[in-house]
């Protein structure tokens, strides 16, 4: 049983931020939860799915974020508290529905949890979800520590219900994936009945129809809800001040930056000189509260990630209040004290404060810093990201790369989001030449494939994972087939949403709650759409390469090549070796072979190591997963595979 449903009020647990949010939702009696996997948000729906049966919650991994929000909204409309969770760019996908949902309003409490990734630690963007709250005019909350993540999540449902409006609870990687102590509250005993009331007066928020029209009426209602939120936020306990009555400098912050700011003040010993206003309610800002603290001092620093959201909004209020509170000097993103790009940390805040107040600070004695820097420069080879040992993507891109080289017409690959995004790097033989959002490789390929009339004659491939296929790849494929575009879509089917931890998707026979469900066959779908479809095992290098060469020769229509091989980290495969790999040191001639060390220099599986002293390749038995692929890349046949099915203890 998960500790997240221990009915143990007052007990203290160590929870990851995402788990704290889940516990808060459980204490609020959440009944419907949906999301699409994406780091750093995935543990929210995952944790809920593990307790769904026991807590009587409907949990699903939806096909994409927009559908997840729609599924959750249905719960709210039917009187059930609901939650949807996603990574930052998921909000972009869901935003069309979000705009309209904000117009129609909600019924039972509904919370959207976007988890932003400042510094793009696990993303190819550091997009901001906070601006969506302002854009679609809904309340925004940002927890500043782990306890607050739980308490605020619970309160967010109550607030949503009071306003009849969806509430955004925004987390960041260093909150979602960090852990801290959390004291549990009570789990409710709930007995709910779902019903969608829609036969009342059309404009009745609880019994009418759910829509954003008539726009003038609903938009006015929406503004009133926002005004009410503003009033509530004036006295909200999640907005706190710590510091002297008349600080030399007032720091205004939110989210994980609260912890950085607090630590920076502590490191510099400035508790008596610097005040810290930590805001939990960051849209709409409560003006009276801001006025009180802005009046304390003339120098204000705003510490936040990533864009100057808080900074801009505070400045607007300060400008309006200037006749009463006087003119302020602001420090933050716009004057360059705090960087506009990347995530923050305590040191960045220390430096910003030290610079502003003219304090000298050194994190390390010069002598030590120089010595450590010198040693590190000489002796720490960098760790380039790479595919895991035994990863099917390495084999797939090996064949794609070789096929394109052999073809010789400057062919290229359009990619999107998944582990295979790494193929922009040498580990995927630098095959990907475009990478943007989910499903976009196939959409872009669809466009390239229509440029023949302008003399475009390069072969085009797109790659797309199995989960991504359902997310947005499928609509791009429909577009391509319908418009008679010409390219080859390669579906890298590794049987799960591998990058984020094997969440199920519509191609699998199991759902988030572990129930058996109908699966949708990618191959059949592609055929039904009218594409020519081939299926290969990427571990069969020669056959895969040959097929790609044939498909890119085809000058008509859209081809789909499904490369099917389970992820090396999947529970079915992990720890099980299909082959025992060895090197025949008599045959491996290393640099003298003429192969140019193709195995260790180009193929670069972490299980293969170039032994400089013996001048042969060797297998790292701890790392090798026994997939057997490298045996087929050695032209001399020095890499041997022998069949075993060995389970590691």
């Amino acid at each position: 049983m998960s500790y997240l449903i221990d009915n143990n009020e007052g007990a203290r647990y160590l929870l990851m931020g995402n788990e704290s949010i889940v516990r808060g939702a459980l204490e609020a009696g959440v009944k419907v939860a949906a999301g699409y996997p994406g780091t750093p948000s995935s543990e929210i729906i995952e944790s809920l799915s593990k307790v769904g049966k026991e807590m009587d919650i409907y949990v699903e991994w939806s096909v994409n974020e927009k559908v997840a929000m729609e599924v959750a909204a249905a719960g709210s409309f039917a009187g059930l508290r609901s939650l949807c969770a996603m990574k930052q760019n998921g909000v972009n996908v869901a935003s069309d529905f979000l705009l309209h949902l904000a117009g129609s309003g909600t019924r039972a409490g509904m919370v959207i949890v976007p988890c932003d990734d400042p510094g793009a630690l696990s993303s190819v963007n550091e997009g901001e979800s906070r601006y969506f709250a302002r854009l679609v005019e809904i309340p925004l909350l940002e927890p500043g520590d782990f306890q607050e993540a739980k308490d605020m999540a619970k309160w967010a449902f109550e607030l949503s219900e009071e306003l009849r409006q969806i509430v955004m609870l925004r987390s960041v990687t260093r909150m979602s994936h960090a852990s801290g102590n959390v004291v549990f509250g009570k789990l409710p005993v709930s007995d709910v009945h779902a019903e969608f009331k829609c036969d009342g007066f059309v404009l009745d928020p609880m019994e009418g129809i759910m829509t954003s029209a008539p726009v003038d009426y609903r938009h006015t209602q929406q503004q009133e809800k926002l005004n009410k939120a503003r009033e509530i936020f004036e006295d909200c306990p999640f907005n706190t001040y710590d510091g002297p009555d008349s600080p030399e400098l007032l720091i205004i912050t939110s989210s994980a930056c609260t912890l950085y700011s607090r630590e920076a003040i502590s490191i510099l010993g400035l508790k008596d000189r610097v005040g810290l206003l930590k805001l939990g309610t960051t849209w709409p800002l409560p003006p009276k509260l801001l006025k009180k603290y802005l009046s304390m001092t003339d120098r204000i620093m705003i510490v936040e990630e990533v864009l100057p959201f808080l900074e801009e909004n505070v400045k607007i209020l300060a400008a309006e209040m200037a006749p009463e509170i006087g003119v302020k000097t602001f420090y933050g993103k716009n004057d360059g004290k705090i960087p506009m790009v990347g995530e923050l940390n305590p040191d960045i805040v220390v430096n910003a404060i030290a610079q502003t107040l003219g304090i000298d600070y050194k994190a390390m004695p010069d002598e030590y810093a120089n010595k450590a820097q010198g040693v590190a420069m000489a002796g720490t080879p960098s760790r380039e990201l790479t595919f895991c040992p035994g990863c099917p993507h390495r084999a797939s891109f090996w064949s794609i790369h070789n096929a394109l080289e052999l073809d010789g017409r400057k062919g290229f690959v359009c990619g999107d989001i998944g582990c295979y995004t790494l193929a922009i790097l040498p580990c995927g033989f630098s095959s990907l030449k475009t990478t943007h959002s989910m499903g976009s490789g196939t959409g872009i390929a669809s466009g390239f494939g229509k440029l023949g009339g302008f003399g475009f004659d390069q072969p085009i491939l797109s790659v797309c994972g199995d989960s991504t296929f359902f997310h947005t790849g499928i609509s791009a494929l429909v577009n391509a087939v319908h418009h008679s575009s010409n390219f080859t879509m390669v579906i890298l089917d590794n049987s799960g949403t591998a990058m984020t931890g094997f969440q199920p998707h519509p191609g699998l026979k199991v759902n988030a709650l572990g129930d058996e469900v109908p699966s949708i066959d990618i191959e059949e779908v592609c055929r039904a759409l009218g594409a020519r479809v081939e299926v290969r095992d990427p571990f069969d290098l020669e056959e895969t390469r040959k097929t790609i060469n044939q498909l890119i020769e085809d000058k008509q229509g859209v081809n789909v090549l499904i490369l099917r091989q389970i992820c090396a980290l999947s529970p079915e495969k992990k720890g099980k070796k299909k082959y025992e790999m060895t090197i025949d040191e008599e045959i491996c001639l290393g640099e003298n072979c003429g192969c140019n060390r193709v195995c260790t220099r180009i193929f670069r599986c972490p299980g293969l190591v170039w032994d400089k002293e013996k001048e042969v390749t060797r297998i790292d038995e701890v790392i090798c997963t026994g997939c057997g692929v490298c045996a087929d890349i050695c032209p001399a046949g020095a890499i041997k595979k022998s069949s075993v099915l060995k389970e590691v203890a």
């Binding site: 630590e263 994190a363 040693v375 895991c388 190591v609 203890a649």
Partner: protein
């Protein structure tokens, strides 16, 4: 071992390694052991893309009274547990100081650049010399090799935790370890993990 008082508050621990070494598991087990002793623990973790061959780091802040930043400030590590030896040096560059203590595994995991023959991986002697220059107390432990002898190299992380207990800077004990893993790993794996923990503890005492 269970009654040791922290020499500083917050006491800052970094567990570093390479994706797949059980870094996150080790940090959560250690943190839970300390929470059970009544401490406030904050963990900052980097995982996600870094799981794919990159360096992985967990920052643990242990305090009697409060939550701290999930990122340790520069130069402020008190003890570093390196599941991979070169990662110890990488961490010291940013978080080291003359008083820091280091426990390092000796099993190298070659970055792809080294496998490819483009970069050099320093010899164990060079690593030992560098680490000793940058730290006050240093222990090198053949944790992965011992783990292999126990049947699974992944046990290296538990051997390192046992070793951390053995050096006596944190209030850790075997009972606490057992209590924590009993809730997080399958029953049939508990004995082997306890064995690994004991082994680690012994290795630094010799």
């Amino acid at each position: 071992m269970g009654n040791i008082q922290l020499s500083k508050d917050p006491y800052n621990i970094i567990i570093t390694g390479v994706g797949g070494q059980g870094n996150v598991m080790a940090s959560r087990v250690l943190a839970n052991m300390l929470v059970k002793k009544g401490y406030c623990v904050t963990i900052g973790e980097s995982f996600g893309a870094s799981q794919r061959g990159g360096s992985v780091m967990s920052h643990l802040r242990v305090s009697r009274s409060s939550i701290w930043s999930p990122q340790i400030p520069r130069g402020r590590a008190d003890v570093v547990i390196a599941l991979e030896p070169v990662e110890a040096i990488r961490v010291l560059k940013d978080y080291g100081n003359p008083e820091v203590k280091i426990l390092s595994n000796t099993r190298a995991i070659s970055p792809v650049g080294v496998i490819a023959g483009e970069l050099d991986y320093p010899s164990m002697e060079e690593i030992k010399k560098s680490v000793k220059e940058l730290a006050s107390d240093v222990w090198f432990i053949d944790a992965t090799d011992e783990g292999l002898r126990l049947g699974n190299p992944i046990l290296g992380n538990i051997i390192m935790l046992g070793a951390l207990s053995g050096v006596g800077v944190l209030p850790m004990d075997r009972e606490g370890f057992k209590g924590v893993i009993s809730r997080s790993i399958p029953e049939d794996k508990i004995d082997i993990n306890l064995k690994a923990y004991d082994m680690g503890e012994q290795m630094v005492r010799v």
